[in-house]
C-alpha cells in the first residue's frame, strides 16, 4: 500500500514528529514498503476469532486501597527543562 506525501505529513503531525521535506519523501517510501509486507494478514481467515491484547490474561488484579508514600514534588521536578512555582512550565496551550 503506497502512502501519499500528505498522509505521511498527517501521521507525522499526529505523532508530533517534525519532518523535513527530504524526510517526508524517505519516510513515504520506507513506510509504504513496510506496509506492503502487512498485506499477507488479509489472507488469513480470522472470522469469529477474538483479539489477544496480552498473552496470559490476569483479570482484575486488585490491591488494598491504602495510602502509601509517593514522589516528592521537588524530586519529580528535578529533571524539568522549565519550571515555575513548583510546576512544569509549558507554552500556552490555548490562545
Amino acid at each position: 500500500m503506497a502512502l501519499s506525501t500528505d498522509e505521511v505529513r498527517h501521521i507525522a503531525h499526529l505523532a508530533r514528529v517534525a519532518l523535513s521535506d527530504d524526510e517526508v519523501e524517505r519516510m513515504r517510501d520506507q513506510l509504504s514498503s513496510i506496509l506492503d509486507h502487512f498485506d499477507v494478514l488479509s489472507e488469513i481467515d480470522t472470522d469469529g476469532v477474538p483479539p489477544t491484547a496480552q498473552s496470559f490474561e490476569l483479570t482484575n488484579v486488585e490491591r488494598a486501597d491504602e495510602v502509601g508514600s509517593s514522589v516528592e514534588r521537588e524530586e519529580a521536578l528535578e529533571g524539568a527543562p522549565r519550571r515555575e512555582d513548583g510546576y512544569f512550565r509549558v507554552r500556552a496551550v490555548l490562545d
Binding site: 509486507h37 494478514l41 488469513i44 491484547a53 498473552s55
Partner: protein, 492 residues
C-alpha cells in the same frame, strides 16, 4: 589475598561465587579487575553507555561485608551489567536515545532492586538499540556495539552491549530485555545463553516501556546454572507490576540431574524453511541429534502454520504500543527539550524530531498509522486476531511436547552497515524469535556450533512458566558438548 591480575575473569558467576565464599579473593578485588577490563574493552566494543565505578565499588564493599557475615545470597559480590533501559536511581538511564539526555531516574526498577538485594555488583549500564528497537545495536545514539568474535560484525540487538560484554568475558552475567528477540538473537550472535522468560514472569516496573504486551527482562550468561540463578533472583510477582504472575518461582536447577531422557521435543518445519542459511541449519540439526542420542523423543510432525505471520503481526502490534508508550517524551518533564519554539506543538514536534533516531521515528509513525481512524480494524485489530491464532497453535503444540527446537536466527552475525538501509531486511532477522513474544512462552538461545567461524544459536521454546525444562535441557546439552565454553580470541 589475590592480586587483581591473578583473578581469572573467564570464570562463570557460580565459580566466582564459590571463590568469594572460599576467600580466594574479595568482591572489591573482583570488581576492580572487572572495571579495568571492561574499560579496556570499550574500544572497540562500546558495550557500555555508563560505567558505574563508584557505585560498583560501594556495592562490592557491602557484598564483602555480607560474605564475611554469612548472610550472602548466591549472587552476592558477583559483577553484572544491566541494559540501559532499566531505571537506576541517580544513574543516567538513556534507553540509547538522545531524548533522555541528562535524565536520572528518581527510583530503581524492580529488577535492579532485586539484584541489589541479592548483593550483585552492577558495574555499568549497557549499550542498546534506541528504546530497544533494532536487531543490530546500530540504532544507538551512543554508537554501535561491536561483536567480540569479529569486530566488523554486529553483536545483534537490541541488547547488544549486554551480550558483547559477557561474550568478551568482561562480566559473567548481564541483564537484557526481549520484545521480539532482543535477548535471544544477540545471545546467538555472541555465543551465549540468553533467556526470554514467560510473559509475566519478571517485573517490568521501571523498565523504559517499548511494547508492553510483548517484552520481558531476562538473563545473559555462559551456562545453564548461571541463567537459573539469575532468573531465580529477578523473577516473581511484583505489586508494582500488575501483569506479573502469582505463580511461584521454582528452583530452576531442579531438573538438572534428569538429562534428556523422555523429553518430548517438537521440531516445527516452519522454522526451517527458505531463508535459513545452510551452515546454521547443519549446526542446529547436529544439536537435535545430540538431544535424540541422549534419550529425547524427536517429533518432526509438529506444525505452527501461522507462525510466519508473526512478523507482520509483530510489526503492527509493537509499533502501535510504542507509539503510545513514547508519547510521554514531550520535552516537558525530563530529558532533552527544544524550548525555542513559538507554540506547544512546535516545541513538542521539534523535541521529538531532534531527540528520536530514524528507526524510532519510523516505528512511531507505523504505530500511529496503524492505530489511526480508518485503519485500526485493518491493521491493529487484525494483528491482534492473528495473534490469537498463533497463540492457539503454540498451546496445541505443547499439549504433547515439552519443548520445541528451532534455530534462533536465520544466519550468523552480519556485518556492520549491511542491513542498515533496508528496515525490512533487518526485521527478517527476528523471524524465529518473534512468534514466541506474540504467544508469550519462554524461550532460551544456547550456543550449538559455528558457521563461518561465528556462533550459531539453538532456540528452545517452552511451555508457559516452564523455564525449568528449558534449563534442564540446556544443562544436559552442556554435558555433551563444549560450545558454551568457546571464547572469542579478543576476549581475554
Amino acid at each position: 589475598m589475590a592480586d587483581d591480575s591473578s583473578i581469572d575473569l573467564d570464570r562463570l558467576a557460580h565459580e566466582h561465587a564459590d571463590a568469594l565464599r572460599a576467600g580466594e579473593y574479595t568482591s572489591r578485588e573482583l570488581t576492580e579487575a572487572t572495571l579495568t577490563r571492561i574499560r579496556a574493552q570499550q574500544d572497540p566494543l562500546n558495550a557500555y553507555i555508563t560505567i558505574t565505578e563508584e557505585l560498583a565499588l560501594e556495592q562490592a564493599d557491602a557484598a564483602d561485608a555480607r560474605l564475611s557475615s554469612d548472610s550472602a545470597a548466591p549472587l552476592t559480590g558477583v559483577p553484572i551489567g544491566v541494559k540501559d533501559l532499566l531505571s537506576t536511581r541517580g544513574v543516567p538511564t538513556s534507553a540509547g536515545s538522545r531524548i533522555l539526555e541528562g535524565y536520572r531516574p528518581i527510583y530503581d526498577c524492580t529488577v535492579v532492586d532485586r539484584l541489589q538485594n541479592a548483593g550483585a555488583v552492577i558495574v555499568g549500564k549497557t549499550n542498546l538499540d534506541e528504546f530497544a528497537m533494532g536487531s543490530s545495536n546500530e540504532h544507538s545514539a551512543f554508537g554501535p556495539v561491536r561483536n567480540p568474535w569479529d569486530t566488523d560484525r554486529v553483536p545483534g540487538g537490541s541488547s547488544g552491549g549486554s551480550a558483547a560484554t559477557v561474550a568478551a568475558r568482561g562480566v559473567p552475567l548481564s541483564i537484557g530485555t526481549d520484545t521480539g528477540g532482543s535477548i535471544r538473537q544477540p545471545a546467538a550472535f555472541c555465543g551465549l545463553l540468553g533467556l526470554k522468560p514467560t510473559y509475566g514472569r519478571v517485573s517490568r516496573y521501571g523498565v523504559v516501556a517499548f511494547a508492553s504486551s510483548l517484552e520481558q527482562v531476562g538473563p545473559f550468561a555462559r551456562d545453564a546454572r548461571d541463567v537459573a540463578e539469575l532468573l531465580g533472583t529477578i523473577a516473581g510477582a511484583d505489586p508494582l507490576d500488575s501483569t506479573t504472575s502469582p505463580e511461584l518461582v521454582p528452583d530452576y536447577t531442579a531438573g538438572f540431574e534428569r538429562g534428556f531422557e523422555g523429553l518430548r521435543v517438537g521440531v516445527p518445519s516452519q522454522f526451517f524453511a527458505e531463508g535459513l542459511d545452510d551452515g546454521v541449519r547443519q549446526a542446529v540439526e547436529t544439536a537435535i541429534d545430540t538431544f535424540e542420542a541422549g534419550g529425547a523423543i524427536i517429533d518432526r510432525s509438529v506444525e505452527l502454520p501461522t507462525s510466519p505471520a508473526a512478523l507482520p503481526v509483530y510489526y503492527i502490534i509493537a509499533p502501535s504500543e510504542a507509539s503510545a508508550n513514547l508519547a510521554r517524551y514531550d520535552g516537558v518533564k525530563y530529558g532533552f527539550s527544544f524550548i525555542e519554539g513559538e507554540s506547544v506543538d512546535e516545541e513538542m514536534s521539534e523535541t521529538r524530531a531532534r531527540g528520536f533516531g530514524d528507526e524510532v521515528k519510523r516505528r512511531v509513525m507505523i504505530g500511529t498509522y496503524a492505530l489511526s481512524a480508518g485503519y485500526y480494524d485493518a491493521y491493529y485489530l487484525k494483528a491482534q486476531k492473528v495473534r490469537t491464532l498463533i497463540r492457539r497453535e503454540f498451546e496445541a503444540a505443547f499439549t504433547d511436547h515439552d519443548l520445541l527446537l528451532t534455530p534462533t536466527t536465520p544466519s550468523v552475525a552480519f556485518a556492520l552497515g549491511e542491513k542498515l538501509d533496508d528496515p525490512f531486511a533487518m526485521y527478517l532477522n527476528d523471524l524465529y524469535t518473534l512468534p514466541v513474544n506474540i504467544a508469550g512462552n519462554p524461550a532460551l538461545s544456547i550456543p550449538c556450533g559455528f558457521d563461518q567461524g561465528l556462533p550459531v544459536g539453538l532456540h528452545l521454546i517452552g511451555r508457559p512458566f516452564d523455564e525449568e525444562t528449558l534449563l534442564r535441557a540446556s544443562h544436559a546439552f552442556e554435558a555433551e558438548t563444549d560450545w558454551h565454553r568457546q571464547a572469542p580470541a579478543s576476549g581475554s
